[in-house]
Symmetry: C3
Subunit: 335 residues, 3 copies
């Protein structure tokens, strides 16, 4: 892809200082950008990197300047997605590969891409412009909304309902039966799972993540939520809108997670927990009780973040404090 500097300035509503006809063929970091590439400088400290590097042009903040052709914008960070999209080489995938195996009574839009060795069950509806990569497995009675992306080797189990513009990254598993057993004496009997998974519009599910289907009713991930890789969402969970969950987090059965929450990585949430809207949970926290809206929590068991920080700081200073209290050799006594 090629653009003149003038075209680029227009696309990001920026002010151009430099030759409007300069041709730019890519985007890169200030350090790596070449003469035909543009780079974006987020803060003043990186201006020199851009100047010393080979970049053909630079995007910087209003009121700054650089000894190269440049475009100024109010907030360079905010134009980055637009700029990256300009130079994204999108392979236009098309057609349904001859090796795709489809069950009875499916309804697949003409302009989908379905890659080699994909297997699809019965009664499946696939909307317009859906991309399904090689090796994906889709069960029966599944609905996939338009413009949704289903990565390589993804598994989508029977009765799942997937919205529009959803991204299910490679290897993710949607709709596996929940981890539910009933104890009989010392052994366990499996509880059948008749429910399904509903993933609403604009959701993203990360690579190799697992979303279990519910016992009855639906495991639901609502509009706009973004879930990272290797995350486990157990049966009967409901996750609200625009909630972001970082990698390797696990949410146990029947939790109700609010809207606009943010989970750090490796968080664990015990079963049947309710977490209110706008909650922020720091990485590696273990949530063992309900959380009111607008909370900021951390630690295991999770508590208000400031309280946890204070406790951790105190803990480290304890040896000193105890010495001050006249306990000379605390670390060695009592053992």
């Amino acid at each position: 892809m090629k653009y003149t500097l003038e075209e680029i300035a227009k696309r990001i509503n920026g002010k151009l200082s430099g030759p409007p006809d300069l041709v730019i063929e890519g985007i890169n970091t200030p350090e790596l950008a070449g003469e035909d590439e543009i780079c974006v400088v987020f803060d003043e400290n990186l201006i020199s990197a851009a100047e010393n590097g080979s970049a053909g042009a630079v995007v910087i903040k209003d009121e700054l300047s650089v000894a190269k052709p440049y475009i100024t914008v109010e907030d360079p960070r905010s134009v980055l997605p637009t700029l990256l999209k300009l130079f994204l080489e999108k392979r236009e995938l098309a057609g349904i590969h001859s090796t795709v195996i489809t069950g009875a009574n499916c309804n697949i839009s003409n302009n989908c891409y379905i890659g080699p060795y994909v297997v699809i069950g019965d009664n499946v509806k696939i909307g317009e412009k859906v991309n399904i990569m090689a090796g994906a497995r889709i069960g029966s009675n599944v609905v996939v909304g338009e413009e949704t992306f289903i990565g390589y080797n993804v598994v989508i189990e029977d009765r799942s309902i997937i919205g529009k513009r959803v991204k299910i990254q490679h290897g993710a598993i949607i709709g596996k039966e929940g981890f539910g057993f009933q104890k009989r004496g010392d052994t366990y009997i499996r509880i059948p799972h008749l429910g399904n998974v509903v993933i609403e519009d604009d959701v993203e599910i990360g690579a190799n993540s697992v979303v279990d289907r519910s016992t009855l009713g639906s495991t639901i991930i609502k509009r706009g939520s973004k879930i990272d890789s290797l995350v486990l969402v157990a049966h009967n969970v409901r996750i609200g809108e625009d909630t972001v969950i970082a990698g390797q987090t696990g949410i146990a059965g029947s939790c109700l997670i609010g809207n606009r929450c943010m989970f750090g990585g490796q968080v664990g949430v015990a079963d049947h927990i309710k977490i209110g809207d706008n909650t922020v949970i720091f990485a590696q926290s273990g949530v063992a009780g309900d959380v009111p809206p607008n909370s900021v929590i951390s630690g295991t068991p999770a508590r208000p973040h400031r309280e946890w920080l204070r406790a951790q700081a105190l803990l480290l200073r304890l040896p000193k404090i105890l010495r001050r209290l006249g306990l000379k050799d605390v670390s060695d006594d009592d053992q």
Copy 2:
């Protein structure tokens, strides 16, 4: 599937109050059940949900009643698996798909289902009524017992021995070589793994979980144990009978885990640890030493659960306690 209320009452040994000929076509939650569906009420608080909803019939505890056709049983929760099974629509899968690739000298029972694009090595024995879903990869010299389920895209490496009625959920990897290296100067040399994995009868392995094969001998998961998704079981580990391990737990090399243990999610166990029978380990614990039978432990490093709870509670109250001891502004001093 359709049953009369009388048939359902018989199947769950319940007492019917209502029209025996009423036809029920499904099961659902008290809130979601429709007129042709039955629901189960676990406790009195949910009776009103069942009454206000549209459910055609209700299962409740002995001595309770509800203003609808109902069936009473001693313990509603315990009949749930039976009820769910009644309404489980089991796709009867049959036949070996024409795209299945099989090596030399395999012995596959006639009444198995093997889905599209499955690849099987040499000298593999597959028992009766085994289901192998599309895209599974099975190495050479593997044995799979009768009625076992192998999910989509599962990998089972050479020499694995899988028992009867085992469930290996989608994307799980059984028998990958263990993570074993030997240091030579600053670099690492791979230790070859000649062992295998043995999974006994009635075990379940969750989606995208990984069970490594041993260096020599076998990594063993014994009868009836249930392992959730995204769990890592390293080389040379032995897990006892009827042990339950929740999601994202990791068990390092050569651990010996007892019978009837219960692991919460995201537990970590260091290598070469012995954990006695009937041990309960709370979620996110880190087990760094041997654990006697019948222990209840939590925290990192894991210790008796009550001790850990007490320590956590004290930690949170420390600021107050220290103020009482005359240390006025503890959180700011010493920094």
Copy 3:
């Protein structure tokens, strides 16, 4: 495979005490080894196990002896990889299966093995003696160095560069777009990821692990590093040489990890953290700040290991300490 005891002694530079012509057909543990197998005894405690078992021959430390044919070496542990390799039955895989689908303009060496149902994009270069197992998916513009192993159902995204003698274990995902979004009001816009993943020579990536591609430039894993299963390496991360990372660890975006570090399992590292060379991080630690070289750290937030150990020990003794200070019933007050 069969070797005489004399041949085996030569291969491990050992001194033989026993019949040189004795034929050994396998290797096993001291407990499990049969009459035609050899075993290795690491320490004196296991000599009796070897003597009481059926092993045909034993490898032991210099100056020790055993009442069976044996070979002595300076360090029995260090010869284990060599011995195991002698008896490793390496299926010699060869040929490109007729079901492999390859894009335009690929350059695949003649002596590769590519298994059934592998799908490869355009402009892919695959070096000599590469093994690609069934069901792997390789994007476009990918380079794979000689003697590299790509496991079953592995996904390698567009533009990835994989070195020589790399092992990518089953189900791993290399080059998925990073988990990067920009907030606009309450919703999130995806940041396109134009970068790639570079994996240098002799690296190992574990089963079902995920390595994200960078926004711009490359996510890099340098020569000789070994990464276990279910690990998440986020976008723009750089991992140095000969670093070992145990299972279920997560490294957030843009971290710079040094050479020769060792990570325990389930470690979490926050984004943009720098970790110096030779750092040791204990299992389950949470690293929230930069770490100087040669550190040994643990806990969340991670701090010097000895300091953390001391704090944990103090915490457990606090009830006793506070009683000594005259606070009789600390665990119940203030609540």
